[in-house]
């Protein structure tokens, strides 16, 4: 099995307008999706990322404050999956609730060697 990283982009704009009730309903979809991956044994890690960001452009360059992209374009987290092929990883990604809030999933292979 190969490993693939799903980069979760965007969704922030729509999320910002959700009511507490909608946030709760949306979260249920995420926990179900994530638990589903774990139950199938293909979950191999993942973390949510905060919106704060700093950027360094050189060893001595000053640290600049982010975020650098609009919140709607920022990466909000990543998931690592085990799959046979990138096509299969994409297929699995179709179930991601991020699409309901107009986000984008980028699938990248984790290099084995």
């Amino acid at each position: 099995m190969n490993r693939y990283m799903l980069l979760l982009w965007g969704g922030g704009e729509k999320m910002g307008r959700m009511s507490p009730e909608e946030i709760q309903a949306h979260m249920k979809k995420w926990t179900l999706w994530m638990e589903g991956l774990a139950k199938k044994g293909i979950w191999d890690g993942g973390e949510p990322l905060g919106s704060e960001a700093r950027r360094l452009t050189g060893a001595r360059a000053p640290v600049t404050d982010g975020p650098y992209t609009e919140a709607k374009e920022a990466v909000s987290g990543y998931v690592i999956l085990k799959a046979d092929s990138i096509a299969q990883a994409c297929e699995i990604s179709r179930g991601c609730p991020l699409f309901e809030i107009d986000g984008v999933v980028e699938v990248r292979p984790v290099r084995a060697m």
Binding site: M15, M18, I23, W30, T31, M34, G41, G46
Partner: protein, 429 residues
Amino acid sequence: MADSLRPPREVPELVDHLFRQQAGKMAAVLSRILGFHNIDTAEEIVQDTLLTALQVWSFRGIPPNPAGWLMTAARNRAIDHIRRERSRLRASEDLQQQLRSEWTLSSTVSREFEESRIRDHLLRMIFTCCDSRVRLEDQVALTLKFPGGFSTGEIAAALLCEEEAVRKRLYRARKRLREDRGAFQMPPDGELSARLHAVLQVVYLIFSEGYKSAEGQSLIRAELCEEAIRLGTMLAEHPACARPPTFALLALMFFQAARLSARTYEDGSICQLEQQDRRAWDPALIANGFRFLDRSADGVELTRYHVEAAIAACHCGAQSFEQTDWPLIVSLYGKLAAIYDTPIVRLNRAIAVGFAQGPRAAISELELLQREGGLSRYYLLPASLGEFQMKAGELESARASFQAAAQLCRSAAEKDFLMRRIERCAADP
């Protein structure tokens, strides 16, 4: 990181409406600390807290104490915010000094987030929203928004109005309250009773909005009933508001809510009291109703809620429609009219008279009401008249009454019901 290797496990269920209810609580505590004039900031902190929970819980699972997690996260955000804005922040006056100093900032904020205080903050928030200087319809919207945690869109859907109208109401109400920095206070003892009545009125309005027959949006409207009962329970559990009128209103709402689902058939059409399956009435809610009715029987004050709860209790206690104590209901409506005289109360009394004394008695009372003209736009008057005319065998008049009612009613379910009534008048020999 070993931690991120997520072991498979069952997804724990969150309590229904947890986020909505916690949003109301967080807003109440934050506006206590920051002052009601900073309610926008409070809202931003609440939204940020909920979105962080969404993100973190999605990855790491739901924590063992979700409500506590949210309160702690909101508290930390509040401390960060105050620290960042320290020099220009104009928070609640009595806390201002303590929030300015790093020595006391964290403990001051944490203290206001203590469970025992949250209850007080919520109550203060409700009293603030039900301020008589704010229009009544705006009070309803504001109460749903702040202690309630409903969004503008949800309020609009629940009250069957445009989102823009709700936005305007909220804007107007918030502006009015922001100007008044002393607003976020409990009324002094001398005023409490009068102010409590204003709060009860808003709670009952919220309930009644939800109780009105639904128009394809029954879910959100049933949530209004639920929310009103939650607010009423909160009041009943607080020493300052645990008084007979509060118990009476709560009893009334429990009795009505018990019958909520039996009022419509599965397809959403209306089921009259006479045809309702009484086994579908919720016995737990009815028991709650009687419990609070007992507690309301203390003291000398007789409010409309007392009498209305007593009427609802008659229905809930009756084994069948036929065994209903109609003469008692007629006399209770008489009592109600003595303290709360509205055309609707008289309409209900006339209907009860019909069941106690026969259709002819009801017809003459209803015709009298019609001549008085107070309910000329209300479809239930001709609809009820039609029912009794039908019972009395006056099918021609009944048909005309139902037609008049259909002209007046706006809900599809009700219109549909009346059309079937009209057909029946024509079909019967």
